[in-house]
Each structure stands twice: as C-alpha cells, then as structure tokens.
C-alpha cells in the first residue's frame, strides 16, 4: 500500500473515532458544556490536559526548532513543562475550589468588578486566537503534504470535525475526544522515535539513546554532533548561543505564561475535587513529559541524520523526501558553486531568508528561485524547521505506516488544542460577556444556545486564519505566552495569596503588564524589525522573554496601587479564606 493510502486510512479511522465520541458525550447543560459536569477522572483529565496543551507547535515544530537551536532549545523544554509546577502548586487547586466556569469568572468575582472581567475576556480572546492561528497552519501542512489535497480543503475538513464535537459536546465532548487524541498523538510520536533510536544507537528508549554511542562506533552521538556542527560553522550543538539572561527570561516567560493560559487552567475546573485537581496536574505533567523528554532526543537524531543524508550529495540522487518537501515549498536549494551537489553550513542561504520560487527548473531539475543567493556564506539550502518531525521518519527510511501514523498524530495534536481554545473563547463570550455582563436575564437554556453559537463563530474565524494565514503567525506566538504571563498569572496568583489586593490594583497591574509587553513586542517585531537584536533590547532581553519583565511590572503596579486605595470588601476576604480551605 502506498503511504498516501495508508495515511487516508489512519486519518479516516481517527476522525471516525472522534465523531463517535462526540455523539456519545453530548452536553445537556451549561455545567456539561463549560466544565464537563465536573466529574472527569483525574487520569482522564491528565490526558485531556496533555492533549489540550500539546499543540501542533509541540508535536510538529518543537523538535525541529531544537534540532536547529541545540542547547538554546532547552528554553522550550523547561519553559513548557516547568509551568505545570506553578500551576499545580499555586493555582489549580484553589481555582477548582472557587468552583466556577471560566478564568474571567474568577477575576470578575475576586476583584468585584465588571471592568476587570471584561479586561480579562479581551486578554483571553487575544491570547487564544493567536494560538489557534498556529494550529490551523499545522493542519494545513499535514493535509497538503500527506493527503495531497489543497491546504484550504484540509483546513475546512479539520474545522468541520472540530465544529462537530465542540459545538455538540462542549467541554464534555472535547474532554473525551482529547483523551483519544492524546493516545493517538503520543503513540505517533514515540513509535518513530523508538525506531530511529534503535537504528542509530541500538537503544530502545530514545531518552537513553540520546546519551549513547552510535551503532558500530565508540563515539557518543552528542560528541559526534558537536563535532559535525562545529565543522559546518555552527555553534556546537550542546552549547548556548544566546546570553544567559535572555535564556533565563524566555524560560520564565514561558513558564509563567503556561501557568496563566486560560485553556489549560479551565481543564482543572472539570475534576470533582481539590485533591483531584492536584493529582490531575501531576498526571498531566507525566503525560506531557513523555513527549517532552523524547523530543530533544528526536532533535539530535534528526539533525545528525539530516546532515548525513544530504551533505555533499548530488541533487540528482538526493533522497525523495528532499524533493517532496521542495515541491511543497518548505525546502529550497540554490547551487552557489554550481557543482550540482548540496552543501549545508551555517548562515541563511538566501537573501530575504524565505524562498519564492520561479516556474522554471534548473539544470539539475531543482526549482529555481527569485531570491538572490546570500553570498556571505556557503550554505546552499533553506529548510523550514516545521518539517523536521514530519520528514524524520522518511529521512530515517522508516516503513510507510509509520509516516502515516505521524500524519494522524500531527492532526490529533492540532485539533485537540484548537478545540480547547475554541471552548474557552465561546464560554467567555456566552458566560462572561452575555450572562454576567450584558444579558443577565437569559435562562440557562438560552446561555447554552449562545455558547454554541459563539463556538460556531469562533470556529469560522479560526478557519479564516487557516486559509489566509497572517504572515506573522510564528512571530505572534511570543505574544500569547508573554501576555498570559504579564496579565493573568499575577492577577490569579495575588487573588489567592494576597487578600488585600483590591480591584484598582488588579486592573492597573493587568493593564500595565499588557501595555508594556504588547508595545515591546509590537515595536521589535513589526515597527522596527531591523533593530530586533541584542544591541537594542532592554537589558538584552528578546521580545520572546519580555513577558517576564511585564509580569514584574504587573506585580509592582498591583501591589503599590492597592496599598494606597481602599481595601476590598469583607465578602472578598471571606471568599479568599474559603478557597484556601481544601
């Protein structure tokens, strides 16, 4: 059977499974729709949280990023797992005790203010849509490469599936579909990793293979990789290129951002008790760690394999995956020295970095480019980092069912995260904006109807992002984490641990953190991208890490404004006392 046919079968089976689960778990009340009836088992919630959390970025892009960044890539590994410690110890149990439906709900009640609630809804919608745009790109890539359908058709099919189970089942449908999606995605991630680990090092467990010697030699994989990367003019794989302060701040922004992401927090509202919320965070991190400790091993294997399989190869005999991805437009080759062979080294191969192709073919059959070659280095290839995980099984010459499996896994990762995000958007619109602010008189049944309508509209908007992807998707991801760290984390944390914090303090803090972080990122990413380098950054902190400073500003403003204004009413003190009890 061809890879394409197998992919259709795998993707078809998994999609049928998701629809089946959706039919079985329909939501009947707002309680079902927003928080799955609050009776999800901690292990199931752990899996659902893991699938919710691990997006197309974790599944498709992260190992690729780390493969090219080497040790600098650790910021993602530590940042996206360490946040769960903060979530488990500082937020999840208390927010579960609070026992309402959404994150703006907590902020609105705790700070006894509709303004605070509306501000939280705005931040939530912004963060969540930023994130969804990335998921849709993931769906598009998988569909166009493996099913050879148009990206737009792919996006529409993906949207239709999410529409079906999110609108019908709400949180309940999403939770149980995410459990299934976790199983699909982790299986799809581990199988090729184990295969490649055995091929390269003879070790079954990738985490061990990562630190072992290569097959038929006495040389450790990482030592060889350090040597090869240095020879090609890169910094050694296991050494940092970024400054320590920048690495520190990016890691912190990702950690605190993770703990403040509404679609993750809301997962802990679905379990039956405070104890279950704590346990559930632990299970979630185990399930996440399974992928996150495998990813850096995959990165090292992929980088090694990639260099081995293309360096100094004549283009005419280059492997088929190389040409396939070139057709999609995610690989480009420019024969600078006209020897017909592929040379890979450090530096951007092309002027303007991203390739734009001509209709014509070159003497070796390669796609010719509009771009001028970048003559300051000898690198001849452009590789989009997003393809590494998808191409890895092909690069390692694994059987075609493994490739099909990876495609199904990538879709599971993208769809599960998109569904979780759509749910928090729709529930904050129907619950926080309509029921709690503008239309307090609606009945539960009407609220449920509005929640479904909001979910449908949100899916439509997400679909438009997928079909007309904003050119800046990758760049705005920094936004989502930076803003979550600079707005939600301090407001939630202080709301629980500092009773005296009043609405004036919380609102000023959130606004200050939001404005500072947003302007810094917009300035360096959009207004003045030419000076986006460490000479101009504040204290040498990149826009990716600035959320950490935004958070400190939020804390400082919130605490100082609070001291000089009226303390919160007595009910708030009682409420905080109440949520501090198990």
């Amino acid at each position: 059977m061809t890879t394409q046919l197998l992919t259709y079968i795998f993707v078809g089976i998994t999609f049928a499974l998701y629809i089946g689960i959706a039919l079985w778990s329909r939501a009947r009340s707002t309680n079902d729709f927003y928080v799955a009836g609050k009776d999800v088992h901690p292990v199931a919630n752990g899996m659902a949280t893991a699938a919710d959390w691990m997006s197309a970025a974790s599944f498709l892009s992260m190992a690729g990023l780390i493969a090219f960044l080497g040790k600098d890539g650790s910021v993602y590994l530590m940042g996206w797992t360490g946040g769960y410690v903060l979530l488990a110890l500082l937020l999840a149990p208390y927010l579960r005790k609070f026992g309402k439906f959404t994150v703006p709900d907590f902020i609105g009640e705790r700070y006894y203010s509709k303004t605070a609630r509306k501000l939280a809804v705005v931040c939530l919608i912004f963060i969540s849509f930023t994130y969804i745009a990335g998921q849709m790109r993931g769906v598009g890539i998988v569909f166009s490469r493996f099913l050879e359908v148009d990206i737009n058709t792919g996006v529409i099919v993906g949207m239709a599936i999410v529409f079906f189970y999110a609108v019908l089942g709400g949180m309940k449908g999403i939770t149980y579909t995410q459990v299934a999606q976790y199983c699909v995605l982790i299986f799809a991630y581990l199988v090729p990793a184990i295969f490649i680990s055995i091929l390269m090092t003879g070790e079954v467990i990738p985490q061990i293979g990562f630190g072992s010697t290569l097959v038929d030699s006495q040389v450790y994989l990482l030592d060889k990789l350090d040597q090869v990367t240095k020879d090609l003019g890169f910094i050694a794989y296991t050494e940092n290129a970024k400054s320590n302060i920048d690495i520190f701040c990016i890691t912190a922004a990702l950690m605190f951002g993770t703990a403040g992401l509404p679609h993750v927090i809301v997962r802990f509202f679905t379990v039956p008790s405070v104890g279950a919320a704590r346990q559930s965070a632990g299970y979630a991190l185990i399930f996440i760690a399974l992928l996150y400790t495998t990813a850096p091993a995959v990165s090292a294997f992929a980088r090694m394999n990639l260099i081995d399989s293309i360096q100094d190869q004549p283009y005419s005999t280059s492997p088929s995956w190389f040409k396939n991805w070139e057709e999609i437009g995610l690989i480009a080759w420019i024969d600078k020295n006209e020897d017909g062979k592929i040379q890979y080294s450090s530096g951007d191969a092309l002027e303007n970095v991203k390739p734009s192709y001509q209709e014509l073919r070159g003497p070796n059959g390669q796609r010719l480019l509009e771009n001028e070659p970048n003559l300051s280095n000898e690198n001849e290839i452009y590789i989009d980092r997003d393809i590494i995980v998808l191409a890895n099984p092909e690069i390692a010459k694994l059987p075609s069912w493994v490739i099909a499996l990876v495609a199904a896994g990538g879709l599971a990762a993208a769809l599960s995260t998109a569904a979780g995000l759509l749910l928090v958007i729709s529930s904050s619109v129907s619950h926080d904006l309509l029921k709690k602010t503008y239309m307090p008189k609606i009945t539960e049944k009407q609220e449920l109807k509005y929640a479904r309508i909001a979910a449908a509209i949100a899916i439509g908007i997400a679909g438009i992002f997928g079909i007309y992807p904003p050119a800046f998707v990758a760049q705005v991801v920094a936004f989502a984490f930076g803003l979550a760290a600079a707005t939600f984390f301090p407001a939630l944390f202080l709301g629980i641990f500092y009773k005296r914090l009043n609405k004036e303090g919380a609102i000023t803090g959130m606004l200050g953190g939001l404005l500072f972080t947003a302007s810094y990122i917009i300035y360096f990413k959009f207004i003045n991208p030419d000076i986006n380098n460490s000479d101009f950054w504040l204290l040498g902190i990149s826009p990716e890490g600035i959320g950490c400073i935004g958070m400190i500003i939020n804390f400082a403003l919130a605490l100082s404004v609070s001291i000089f204004t009226k303390p919160p009413p007595k009910e708030i003190f009682d409420m905080v006392d109440e949520i501090r009890q198990p």
């Binding site: 650790s74 590994l77 990562f210 630190g211 632990g282 185990i286 501090r580 198990p582």
Partner: protein, 85 residues
C-alpha cells in the same frame, strides 16, 4: 477553629515554598545559571548541564508535583482529624 485554618494555611505555604525552591534550582539553577559549570562533569554521553536543561529538570518537575500531592494529602488528613476531635 480560626486558629486551625490559620495553621493549615501556614503549613501549606511552607510546603509550597520549599518545593518551589527545588523547582528553581533544578531548572534556572542547574539548567541555566550553573549549566556551563556542570557541563564539566560527564554522565555517559551527556554533559551534566546539558542533561539537566533537556532532560533532568523535567523529571524533577514531575517528582515535585507528586511530592506536593502526597504532602498535601497528609496535611488535609491532619486537618480533618483535628476537626473531628
């Protein structure tokens, strides 16, 4: 009664604070600040600082959360027993 809940909260803060110290040392300490120094030590094919940054810190995070679950369960039990008396 008021006193009991106050003590419970204080014990809770102590647990959270000590676990966060471990969290900080494992990630920001071993994985970033002292990473290059730890790289002098080898551990199989890994340099130790690199291992903490890409593997070890994550294992420690998992252990921290389960320690927390266990310690809090013990504390909750103590509180409910005292309330019964």
């Amino acid at each position: 009664m008021k006193d009991k809940t106050h003590q419970y909260w204080k014990a809770n803060l102590k647990i959270v604070f000590s676990l966060l110290v471990i969290w900080f040392i494992a990630s920001f300490g071993f994985g970033i600040i002292f990473s290059d120094t730890l790289d002098q030590i080898r551990f199989g094919g890994f340099k130790l600082g690199f291992w903490f940054a890409q593997q070890g810190s994550i294992y420690i995070f998992v252990i921290i959360i389960f320690l927390y679950v266990w310690l809090m369960k013990r504390l909750d039990k103590k509180l409910s027993e005292e309330e019964e008396i």
